[in-house]
Structures are given as C-alpha cells and as structure tokens.
Symmetry: C2
Subunit: 371 residues, 2 copies
C-alpha cells in the first residue's frame, strides 16, 4: 500500500482551514500564494482495532492542503464490504495504520484540483482505482493517479461497488482456466454479490453456471432469482447429498472451474462437481470451516486448489489493467446486463447500516452509504 497517502489525523489537524472553492464558503480567509485546501470532511474513523460498532465514530476532519497533483473528491457513495469490517477488526492481512478512515471503494465527484492536475475537471465522476483506504468520508484527497474517471450515466450504487466484488468475479473467470463458450463453472455462495456477478458474466461469455446455495426457507424463490440472472442450475446443499452429483447436471458439461467462498461441506460439493483436472478457487470462507480434500482428488482426479485475493492482484504490476475492466463492467451495469441487490442508506444512518453489514439484522442486501 505504498502508493496510498494516508490522511492521518496529525496531518489533518495541522492544516489551515481555508477551502478550495471559496465561492461555496465565503466566510473563510484565503491563504497567501493561493494554497488550495479541501473542505473539512465528515469521516468514519477508528483509532484502534476492535468490533466496528465499538471502535468507529463519526468526526469532523480539518481541511487538508492539496499538493499540486492532488485531487479533492466529494464522495457520493461508498459501500460497507466485509473486508472493510475485517480491516477495522484488525484481522485483515493488509490494513492501514490506525488512526484511519474506514472504507476502501466508492464513487465521488471532483471538487477541486491541485495546480498540476491534468485530465480531470470539477464535476467529473471518479472512483479510486485501484481502490484504496479512506472512502468513508465526505471529502477525499488523493494523488490524481489514484482516481479513475467514469461515465456519469452510471448508477451511483454500481459505481461505488464495481471494483471489489464484480472485478473479483471477472478475474476469477479469466485467470485460472482457459474457459471457452460452452464450458461450465460451479460455485457455492451463489447468492453473494460475487456469486451473482459470476452467473451474469459467465452467461455473457456463453459459460454455463452450476450454483450451490445453502438450505433456507424460501430457497425456491432464491433459485428463481438466480435463474433469472442466468444460472443454468441451482441446488441447495441438501439436494446434493447424493452419491453422484454429476448425474444432476443433465446436459450441462462437467465444470472445469469452481469457486468457493464458503468452505466446509459447501467446498466439498464444488469439488465433487469438478471434472478431471479441474480447478477450485477459494476466495472466501463464510462458514469459517476449512476445506477438506481427499488424497485421490489430487492424485487420480488431478484437481488443483488455488486462492484468489483481489487486493493482491491490485497491488501487482497489473493494477492499472483494472481500469478498462472496470469500464467494461460499468458498461454492463448501464446496459442492465449486470445487476445485484443493494440498499442505499444515508451516511447519517451509518450505525444502522453497519449493524446490517455485521449481520445483526439477519440477511440484508449490501449496504451502500450515500453522502
């Protein structure tokens, strides 16, 4: 995360309090030599790691002086992702030092610019790309290289959430196996946003998807929803408690690639569906149970087990390659070919949104804060 300029409290409190756009706040004094400052920023911060509903608080951060290549962005929307929660808890392997502002992705509008910034203008819609920490605040200042301008017609909730989940789905479909139209994939956790994106992107690419969901009341409704997105088959875990799951595939080819975000039995079910020489990619562990694999799966079935972590991919040499992919995905959302459920909530309702994201109100759609 060397490229991330942490907006630390010390730096913020040292800053003078003039604003970059004086017409909006005529009561503040102008500094000499045209120093440019962001507005003060309302931010969700934590000064220590711990349970997010205990350690986070909303505070007002003082304006920050823009360097010549900095861009100040007025945030429009930002989601609460599981990885945001894990960063606050201190259990995520890569996380900013405390004190820190929460959040990692989002969308905003260019508010004001450092003197040397080119290619961006006030009013442009931008996302931090690759995503970087500190999006849970009203004004974010980062170097111009860290902002990616996007089409203003994009719905804000998709612009705010396009990177972490949909890009994970796109990369996982491309990075592990050379899938061709007509091939199949299998996944568990199919109702997750990544899972829904996998179904839809696979369909666009002519790839069949076999989907595993957990047993729950109303699973028939869930099945229909996923089938409307393009799922070729959807099974609850208990429906797969049979000797030969492949007999259930009917005319769908045996999957060459599997995605696991659950672990435990649900991971074993993905393995059962895979064809000879197939690959299972683990990108989550919602059940908090490990993955158990038979010896013969490796020797005789020649399966490969791999992992995917978008953050690692993002910090590789390839990180800038993400921008055309993001544009592709945002195009799909504008065309209505890629959709998933979210709940837009006012920033002022952060504590309720956080409780929902923490699972304290049962199953809830992805919480996206609107600033």
């Amino acid at each position: 995360m060397a490229s991330l300029r942490l907006v630390s409290f010390k730096a913020l409190y040292r800053s003078s309090s003039s604003l970059c756009n004086l017409t909006h706040s005529p009561s503040f004094a102008v500094r000499a030599f045209s120093a440019i400052f962001s507005p003060s920023s309302t931010a969700i911060v934590y000064t220590q790691h711990g349970p997010p509903d205990s350690v986070t608080r909303i505070i007002e951060l003082a304006p920050v002086q823009l360097k010549e290549n900095d861009v100040c962005v007025k945030m429009i929307a930002a989601p609460i992702n599981p990885s945001d929660i894990n960063r606050i808890e201190g259990v995520y392997p890569v996380r900013p030092d405390v004190p820190a502002v929460g959040g990692y992705e989002g969308v905003g509008e260019v508010h004001c610019l450092g003197s040397a910034v080119k290619g961006l203008s006030p009013g442009d819609m931008v996302i931090p790309s690759p995503p970087s920490s500190g999006t849970w605040q009203t004004y974010v200042v980062k170097d111009q290289s860290m902002w990616h301008k996007i089409d203003k017609d994009t719905p804000i909730e998709y612009a705010a959430t396009i990177t972490i989940n949909p890009l994970t789905a796109l990369r996982m479909l491309q990075d592990f196996t050379n899938l061709k139209s007509g091939d199949s994939i299998v996944q568990n956790g199919a109702t997750s946003i990544v899972g829904q994106c996998v179904i839809q992107i696979a369909r666009i690419q002519g790839i069949h998807s076999v989907n595993i969901i957990r047993d729950r009341a109303g699973s028939d409704v869930v099945k229909e929803k996923l089938k409307k997105l393009g799922a070729n088959a959807v099974f609850t875990e208990s429906e797969l408690d049979v000797k030969n799951v492949k007999a259930l595939l009917n005319n769908i080819p045996e999957p060459a690639l599997g995605f696991n975000c659950v672990g435990g039995t649900a991971a074993s079910l993905v393995l059962k569906f895979l064809r000879q020489e197939g690959t299972m990619v683990t990108y989550g562990g919602m059940s908090k149970k490990p993955i158990t694999v038979s010896t013969s799966s490796f020797i005789f079935k020649d399966l490969s087990l791999r992992g995917f972590w978008l953050q690692k991919w993002m910090t590789s040499d390839k990180s800038m390659e993400c921008r055309p992919m993001i544009d592709y995905l945002l195009g799909l959302t504008r065309e209505g070919k890629l959709s998933y459920e979210m709940e837009l909530v006012p920033f002022s309702d952060f504590s309720t949104a956080l409780e929902k994201a923490l699972g304290k109100h049962g199953s809830q759609p992805k919480q996206v804060m609107k600033f």
Copy 2:
C-alpha cells in the same frame, strides 16, 4: 494403456508350445515357417480382484508366439509396489482386465527376438519403459517399442525399481515450481523410497530438504540415516507441535515446494512450512486421512495444492521423455549417489515377500523378487 499388449490366458493357452531358442529345449517340435515362441513362463496371476494373498497364485503359462516386432525378455528382478497391490485389490483407477499377471516394473535380459526387431540383441539388459503390467513372471513378451536398453553395470535391484519411485521424485522436483539452487522443499513420509530419492536428488541440485517423519521408537536413528542421505533437517510430527514451525528452520529458506504422501496432520505440517505462494503436491495418502486446509492458506498465503500421479504422466505425450531421465537416475545409482533400502527375495518366496509388502511383518524394506 492402449499400448499395452495384455498377455491374456486365452492367448497363452491357444499358443503352440515350441520355444524361441530350440537349442535350449530340443524336445519341442519346430513349427513351419520359423514361427518364434517364448519359453513357457512361471507367473503370479490373479483371475479376480481381492486381497492379494488370497487371489494370487503361481501358475505356468504356455509359450506365446512372437510377432515380428516382439521381444521376449527373461525377467531378472521385479518389485512389489503398493500400486501393484492396489491393482490386484481392484482399487487402482487404471488396471489391467483380469485375468492378469501381477507387477508393473522390473528388469530382464533379452532372450529372443521377433524377425523385425532392430537395436536389441539377446543378453541386453532392458526394462519396460514406460512401465507396463505383467512383470511378475519369468518370461515377458512385449513389442520392441516397450523395452528400454540400460547399462549392464546397473545393480539389478535399482534397475528393477528405478521408474516408479525415483522418477516420481525427479518429476515432482521439476514439474511444479522453478526451483533454483539454494531453494528449499519440505516433505512428509520422508523415509519412503520416494522421500529418500527426493532428499538425494534435491541435494545433487543444491536444494535444501526439510523432512517430516512419524513419531516412532528409534526416530533418532532414522534422522541420522536421512541426514546421511543429505537431509538438511528432519523433524518428527510431535516436534512440530509448536506455534511457529518456521522458527525451527534456522538458516534454511522457507520452502517453496512441499510433497505430501501421508495426508491428515502430516499434510498440514507441510502446509505450515510452505512460504507465501508455495505449492504442495500430493502423491500418496498413507494415513488414509484427507487433507484439511484453511481458507486463509488459499486467499492470503496464496498456496496452490496439486497432485502428481506418475502413471498419468507416463501415458501422456511425454512418456518417451522418461528414458533419458531413467538413464540419468540409473547413472546416479551406479555412482552411489542415489540409494535406498531394498530386500532381494527369491521369486519362490513370493508369498512371504507379499506378506511383507502388505505390512504383515511390520516395517520392511521394499521387496524385490529375483527370478
């Protein structure tokens, strides 16, 4: 196994009983048109799958007529490998149809030749390469393409066993990670023949080996033996019941590659030693326990889990590439750089050798039958 000409009983019993070398058996009649026949063959056969000590028996097979490209080899030695036992039990995924002669590798001497055979002469020392079924008999007839001529100075017990175990070790060291001199590997089941070969071939290549053995009486003696072969570190499983196994590595670099032939806890220990982005290759499951892996091993540690099965490699396009590798390995045995414990037993003592191979007499060296 399409290339394997199964010497079936039907074919054998149909054959006339003249011999390829009339001077050895003048009492037999010569067929018209100089038909060439093998001698009759004393063979260990099974007509159904089941416990090897119940379903195998020694019988005399009638001579078989050589086709013009056939070579008849008088077997000198052949081992009893675990995969031979699994084939007889009927639990191995690739196995000859019954009735079948046991065995899969071995060494012999060319006895007589079909009329079109070139490049082999009576007295040449040969091994079936790639290995193929039916080596547990005194005379084996196969197409000339299936025999590989080797240096006559090779000790017969190594010639008989060089393919399945040492070649597995060589391939596994080369096929999964680009190891350089100074790198490390970690393995469990280090006392197995593959394990011993891994230690010695790694040492020749300048690669450190970290070795895990099971807890047993006399483990100190075993450790010394493996260190004499070139092991850089040897631990019993209980010695690794610590929070941070890597602290035990001292100056050995964290292993990039691991080999697992045990499963269960012993596999987890290999995973613990692996460095970020490391690969574990499973090639056996001696404990009969599955492999359990945490979600974070895949996502954050980016480990890959793979499998290796020599038989699959042997039936690939690369199968003929094995011959120069075999020559390399046999050279190492002649130079004393590659050794492992075996017990040469007379063919007539097959039933005792089989009991030992089945583990009915405790831990025993590899049984190699001498014909």
